[in-house]
């Protein structure tokens, strides 16, 4: 069993490296592998150097970390809520971020302002959802899920209204909400990579506790797990990671929902293995999605959210049907 798991991890790691190399090499301008190697050895042409170091590398790193972050958060939220439909956006992060971004676009605040506003309003939204679903010191996950849906619907209505009143910005807003890494710079790397890494690691420390919570919150408490603390901590850090991811790459759907499921089908429900595995798969998934977004209709770029949903949806259905057949055979 252990050997099988380390085999899966090794395979996933090689796929990650392979996708990264592919993603650096392919794009609007094709850079053959030999030339990529030359650039990293310091022998490449100036133009290749610029393309790789100031465009493709930061973009690759950010998409990998965002993919990892969203998948890790999705894995934890599905576990905490014991709900397979849960994803990083359930607490209203996505609509909150879209709200901030819409305001920033209408006010023409620039790229930095946009990221900041998206982040800020995502955090505020989650905090609001959390506060209204708290009773005493306990948090009911079901109430929280419903409150998240209600608040999201309300905010979406306001966003639609703002778009209607600012017709000239319509396409920019839509484009942002569908996600993309076209504007990523090294500054995004410096902010998002460490925070997503540290956040994911802290959550990972609570894998065993979340395992116990999967068998019931009350039951976990009787095993010596401080469920309320674990829930609050993971909700807080998970939302922070999600808000940060959204502020960099827009609302990229499906990653945080399906990658955890795919990972679970392969490696099983134990969060101590599932979380890192899901993180690696998430990184691979977004690296490849970003690659497709760049090359499919080149030189035009497709918003990455379209790719993740268009490829992720059918693939997920395939897995669902397959696992259904498998359990019927049993």
């Amino acid at each position: 069993m252990k050997i099988k798991k380390s085999l899966y991890f090794t395979a996933a790691f090689f796929i990650l490296v392979f996708s990264a190399i592919l993603s650096i090499s392919a794009g609007a301008v094709e850079i053959p592998l030999q030339d990529v190697l030359n650039v990293f050895l310091g022998k490449g042409t100036e133009i290749n150097k610029t393309i790789i170091f100031s465009l493709r590398l930061p973009r690759l790193i950010v998409s990998a970390f965002v993919g990892m972050g969203l998948s890790v958060v999705g894995t934890f939220f599905q576990g905490l809520l014991r709900n397979p439909m849960a994803d990083p956006y359930i607490l209203g992060v996505s609509s909150g971020a879209a709200f901030g971004a819409t305001i920033a676009i209408i006010l023409n605040l620039g790229i930095f302002g946009l990221s900041f506003m998206a982040f800020l309003s995502a955090i505020l939204t989650v905090f609001f959802v959390y506060t209204i679903s708290k009773t005493g010191t306990r948090v009911s996950m079901t109430t929280m899920l419903l409150a998240g849906i209600a608040v999201s619907a309300f905010i979406s209505a306001i966003i639609s209204l703002m778009m209607l009143l600012n017709h000239d910005q319509f396409s920019r807003i839509i484009f942002w909400t569908m996600g993309g890494f076209g504007l990523v710079t090294w500054n995004n790397v410096y902010v998002s990579a460490p925070i997503i890494t540290v956040g994911s690691f802290i959550m990972y420390l609570f894998s065993r506790d979340v395992n116990a919570i999967l068998t019931g919150e009350e039951s976990a408490e009787h095993l010596g797990v401080n469920t309320e603390f674990v829930k609050k901590l993971i909700l807080a850090i998970g939302s922070l990671v999600t808000a940060l991811s959204v502020s960099v790459g827009g609302i990229i759907g499906f990653v945080g929902l399906i990658v955890p499921h795919i990972a679970r089908l392969i490696i099983g429900p134990d969060n101590r293995y599932l979380v890192p595995f899901s993180g690696i798969l998430g990184a691979v998934f977004l690296i490849l999605a970003d690659l497709f977004a760049r090359v499919l209709l080149k030189p035009m770029e497709i918003p990455i959210g379209i790719i993740t949903a268009a490829f992720g949806g059918p693939f997920f259905l395939y897995l669902l049907v397959r696992s259904k057949q498998k359990s019927e055979r049993m």
């Binding site: 420390l205 068998t215 019931g216 009787h222 401080n226 099983g268």
Partner: protein, 266 residues
């Protein structure tokens, strides 16, 4: 030394008082059955004993330690709990589930030691679940699943094991199997406190019985002493006839409907 001592325990949900001043102490391992009508506070009492719910008044002592002052991990080393509703909508193997019982003994950075593995194996052998170790919990029957969860509580190495209707969803065969297992646990020095629905099974398997009514202990003692026509009529508002059963050495309680009395009312 008392294994469990309960002093003037009261508990309210909001304004509604569910448990109203319960006192008792137990100094030896045994099976203690709690019976009583729906809404009499059985589950609430159990959750107060486990420390999951905080009493509004009174104290619970386990081996002379007030559980109020124990942290959540320490509590889990003294008290195991087998819940009424067991979730099993995931693919954990039975071994993984039982290993969760070692959670209170492991800190965040630690992986399971040889000792933990030995205890898990032992717990699974006692409950006759070792053969399921690599099976998913989903694939088991209700009775087998119950045994796995008892094994998990056992892996906590508790002094007290609390069970909330451990046999109510099971077939007769599994009911007897689980109750037999529970009886065996007392030989290991564990005090088992269990809520039971079936009065006859309670009479047969418990060493001592509490009859709960409106959050108070209405009667307590050996099954044969407390399970009499008068007490049952008083608490369950039901007429019964009670037979001594020479075959099992226990008593047999049969409820009956007094049709004639009912007809008069109509």
């Amino acid at each position: 030394m008392d294994i469990l001592k309960v002093e003037n325990l009261s508990f309210s949900y909001g304004k509604k008082e569910i448990i109203k001043g319960i006192d008792f102490n137990i100094s030896e391992s045994m099976v203690l059955g709690i019976i009583g009508p729906n809404g009499s506070g059985k589950t609430t009492l159990l959750k107060n004993l486990s420390g999951y719910l905080k009493p509004s008044f009174g104290n619970v002592y386990v081996l002379n330690k007030n559980i109020k002052h124990l942290n959540i991990k320490e509590k889990a080393k003294y008290i195991g709990y087998v819940p009424q509703d067991i979730f099993y909508d995931f693919d954990f193997t039975c071994y993984d589930i039982v290993m969760m019982g070692r959670t209170p003994y492991l800190n965040r950075f630690q992986s399971e030691k040889l000792e933990d593995k030995q205890i898990v194996r032992e717990s699974m052998e006692i409950t006759n679940t070792w053969q399921f170790k690599d099976k998913s919990i989903k694939e088991l029957s209700g009775g087998e699943r119950q045994r796995v969860y008892i094994a998990r509580a056992l892996a906590q190495r508790p002094k007290i094991m609390l069970m909330d209707e451990p046999v109510s969803h099971l077939d007769i065969k599994y009911q007897l199997e689980i109750l037999n297992l529970i009886k065996d646990l007392t030989l290991k020095g564990i005090l088992v406190i269990t809520v039971l629905h079936d009065i006859n099974l309670a009479a047969q398997f418990c060493d001592k019985i509490f009859i709960l009514k409106d959050g108070k202990i209405e009667a307590s003692g050996k099954p044969k002493d407390v399970l009499n026509v008068k007490n049952i009529k008083n608490v369950f508002e039901t007429d019964v006839v009670i037979f001594e059963d020479s075959e099992t050495g226990s008593i047999n309680i049969v409820p009956y409907l007094n049709r004639r009395e009912q007809l008069k009312v109509v």
